[in-house]
Point group: D2
Chain length 329, copies 4
């Protein structure tokens, strides 16, 4: 049984708390959040020790690992604290507020030899993971083109947008990691930012984006993002290879199809939202983290994956603002 | 170029006239129907000689074959006339008004060695024919269960029902032939007749039926029929075998799917009605007929297939009326 | 928290034990099975008191409810024991070895006013339950025809078959209940038993069956059963109504589709077997049971549903053996 | 009956000849191609006058219209000749060898008031046209993102590639027109050219490309092209709007699905190649052309559409070669 401490008590912390509670090999023993009502509500539900300061959590002697769900600017300090405490950490994305901070984190971690996993949960989605496995087995030959469609069901609140870091770091970062899952390192990115939502435009952010990314071998991925999608949380993937194509469709709660005189085989909207859509992915992600701990291995995705996704996000932002293609060093 | 004479100028005669006109190897040269307005309209459209009496048509010296679309009671006399004239004939279903008349026809044809094909067009539907070919190639092993779903989009008029011969001979007969396509000879049949439509009940007919048929090896088929279906002309097939399953879905005019906030991947209704749905089947049927003529072969389905489907139809009718299972001799 | 005692430690008992363990409102506190190794293994896993005799379990003072997974012949005695102990019971299907025993049970329960739920889990499958809700809301108008396809992935062992009570009571009973879910009481049944598997034939049982059932209003259901199915556990439903059609397709672990030069959009086999396919149904079933306990209500499906499904099973067996349609009293 | 003269006797000329032959309102009366064996073969099949020089064809007095399938460099001169002869013309894409030649053509046509239609056949595909109609009816609200996937089944011969004008003018030009179908005028384009096929690289061309296009309102389209695709001719469209999404899937010859122990619901490869896939589109295109002639209207797509697609193609080529985004004047 792995005893886990949770840093943060917000929306994504709830996801991890539930995932830990449902896992037979882990238990939530402590939770720290300066906003005590949230910490007490969440901690109380699972019988965990409730703290205000994350530093106190790292000082506990009954922890085996931590899950970091603090605000993004605090990710690096919590990662370093975990590393110094010798605690394996699963940290939510993005790894830091910006690329500069992420590179500084990388330097600060030198010599600490930590076990850190980045929370790019979509790699663990059963369908996307199955596609990766089929690609690795050579079922479609050399990968040539990747199409990632990722649309949220509804725009977040202006408050959320204002502190989100922008669509590329907040939302597309998952898709950048997915692109890297299949293309490896990206050498060039071109992005169009789109503004259909006046509220988001007012917050100086884009509400949609379409992006091209290229690796050194000329393999290209396109990412299609929107902050809204009428039929729900739109999460699809197509990997095109020399010998075949793999597709993952959206997920629905049932297989029911309705046919009337106006239409046929109509399905229900997509699973909505990430909690439902990626419930299995979060569970598999946690198991991978626990496995890595059990076997003393470095889990994937790791700090480097977190840094590189962030680098792409900043390049995409620059591309969208300048209208030029950005080469990654 | 095969010169074809058409007997009848009703709805199904229009289908055949159009199919012949579109075939590069056949042309419609004559048409006979006692109802002259219909005959003139159809014949005029294709530049065919227009006659009133079918006997005059058989006397023409420029015919290579005939297509028989007369009212069902006249099918046997027209088949015999064609056989005596040495003209290959494609005859619409059912082959005769009843099993007794069909057996008499069989006797009357002895020694005439005719080339007669029965118009069970669905054997030539690209999807159903592909399933048959895959079954014959052994792709799913020994066939064990067959499910035939066949629903018309809307109930025919009371006038049509009154002279139709009843649902089993008029509508289900196609499905009986489809069952024989995969099961061969049927030895037993059990049918429930259903009455949801008061008009059809008033005409002493059923508007829906669900049927089980068994062959001598214990392979069973179920037929699901209705005179109406909200999303259109519902024509599906499932063949279940020892090593796999084959399915044919309904056909639509486009592949368009609409997703909104209420539903996702909604398709258009099915192709409506048999003219559109089975356009390719009628074309392939005609080509099979023309091929048989060209090579002096006996086409399939033939007179025996027509008689056996009619025998099953009468047994199903008896089963539905008596509530007992009927064994076929 | 509802404390649950489990009677039996076989395959289906494992399903219920896991479902109880995953439910935040229930816990497994005791398990009884004369075969102690199985009881100890299962009980040990969940920290439950392990007993040999079910009578000892009913004598425990910390139980709130029982789940009955004993061999079928013992179902009635365990139901009665639960009723006498005032314990709500969820009993696996079939309710008894035969209709006579079930009617006797009904009589024995008179005056005990028990809370008994029958384990027809498929009513709680998200897709089938959604179809029922849509039908009840009138989305497709009056139900006219129901098609239930239900095939196991692989034939059970000869040992299992020998004591199973036959395909109708062991396997089809789920489908009889599903038919009743949509048609209500059945008045007539006709069944073909099929024998493709020599081992099962040797055990005097059928390995496949196709069945028609009719209610008093003329609504008909067809059930298509087989003990094997190459692509997996085949569980589908079609409900056809006056104004539309509802379908539920098979369930797969992912949405991945593979396309190569030989085929396109190929999906993985179906979820295999009932544990995976109906995991959510078992969970929902348990919640319904817990809700009924919490609110002092009679859960559905109940003893009467169990008895009526058994009655249909015996009628189907008789029909298959005699070749006649059986009317239910 | 519209009498049509055909200029050219190559692959696409065969498509048009067959389409004309199947149309009840048109007939092929003359064909001109300097390569006489091809002209005689095609003309002979349809009983058309066979000429060598297109100028002789324009001099015929029994023509009502022409279809121009000459080599691309000759398109402008044949369009002008048709305009001067007062003959409506349907011209294959691209409209000219390069943008400069196309603009010169536009100038040369001033005052001639010709009836010229460009052969962007995909606008007439039943699925793509249905999506356009649904968009125009407001079914999905304001269009925001368009995804065009277009892959040929197999790379053309090196000989074809050498004289094709490059992937953008030869293949993607259809997709540029499709983008314009939904976005109107394009103001900016960014393209990655890809090289996986050594033969095509040797011919100084790309064998795949991924492209982003933007209109003045910020609506973006992505085009995904490849010269090969294992499961066949991959032609899909997604139009995403404020209130919904519309998708068109690939087309197959049958609806058959095969399920075995290894996979389920496997479909056949896509229709292969453009002749089969777009047979209905070519037929509808011809009908639109004939309708425009009959009603003295200017058909769409027209010369301007041809010029603008070519302009985008050249910009995409420049973008792919320079790595920069190209703004269209």
């Amino acid at each position: 049984m792995v005893n886990i401490g949770l840093i943060g008590a917000g929306r994504i912390a709830h996801v991890h708390a539930n995932t830990i509670a449902a896992n037979p090999n882990a238990q939530l023993v402590a939770i720290a959040d300066p906003y005590q009502p949230a910490a007490q509500e969440l901690g109380g539900r699972f019988g965990a020790t409730v703290l205000s300061d994350a530093q106190d959590l790292f000082a506990l002697d009954n922890l085996d690992a931590v899950v970091i769900c603090s605000p993004t600017p605090q990710h690096p300090q919590h990662i370093i604290a975990a590393a110094k405490a010798g605690l394996p950490a699963l940290c939510e994305k993005p790894i830091a507020l910006d690329y500069e901070a992420a590179k500084q984190l990388e330097k600060d971690l030198e010599g600490l030899n930590p076990t850190i996993m980045l929370g790019f949960n979509r790699r663990f989605d059963p369908s996307f993971a199955a596609i990766k496995a089929l690609v690795d087995r050579g079922e479609i030959g050399q990968v040539e083109q990747v199409t990632i469609t990722s649309r949220d069901p509804e725009a977040p609140s202006p408050q959320y947008v204002a502190t989100s870091g922008g669509i590329f770091k907040d939302m597309t970062i998952h898709d950048f990691d997915m692109a890297r899952f299949f293309l490896g390192d990206i050498v060039e990115v071109f992005a169009y930012g789109q503004n259909f939502d006046p509220e988001i435009k007012k917050a100086n952010d884009f509400d949609a984006t379409m992006i091209l990314l290229r690796n050194a071998n000329g393999v290209v991925a396109t990412i299609i993002n929107s902050r809204h999608c009428a039929p729900g949380y739109d999460q699809r993937l197509e990997v095109f290879g020399a010998d075949g194509v793999l597709n993952a469709d959206n997920v629905r709660a049932t297989t029911v199809e309705l046919s009337t005189s106006n239409f046929s085989a109509s399905k229900e909207p997509y699973l909505n939202f990430f909690l439902e859509r990626y419930a299995q992915a979060y569970s598999n992600e946690l198991n991978t983290f626990l496995d890595a701990i059990a076997h003393g291995q470095t889990p994937t995705p790791n700090v480097t994956d977190g840094i590189k996704a962030l680098q792409i996000a900043e390049a995409a932002q620059e591309s969208a603002l300048t209208g030029t293609s950005i080469t990654l060093s």
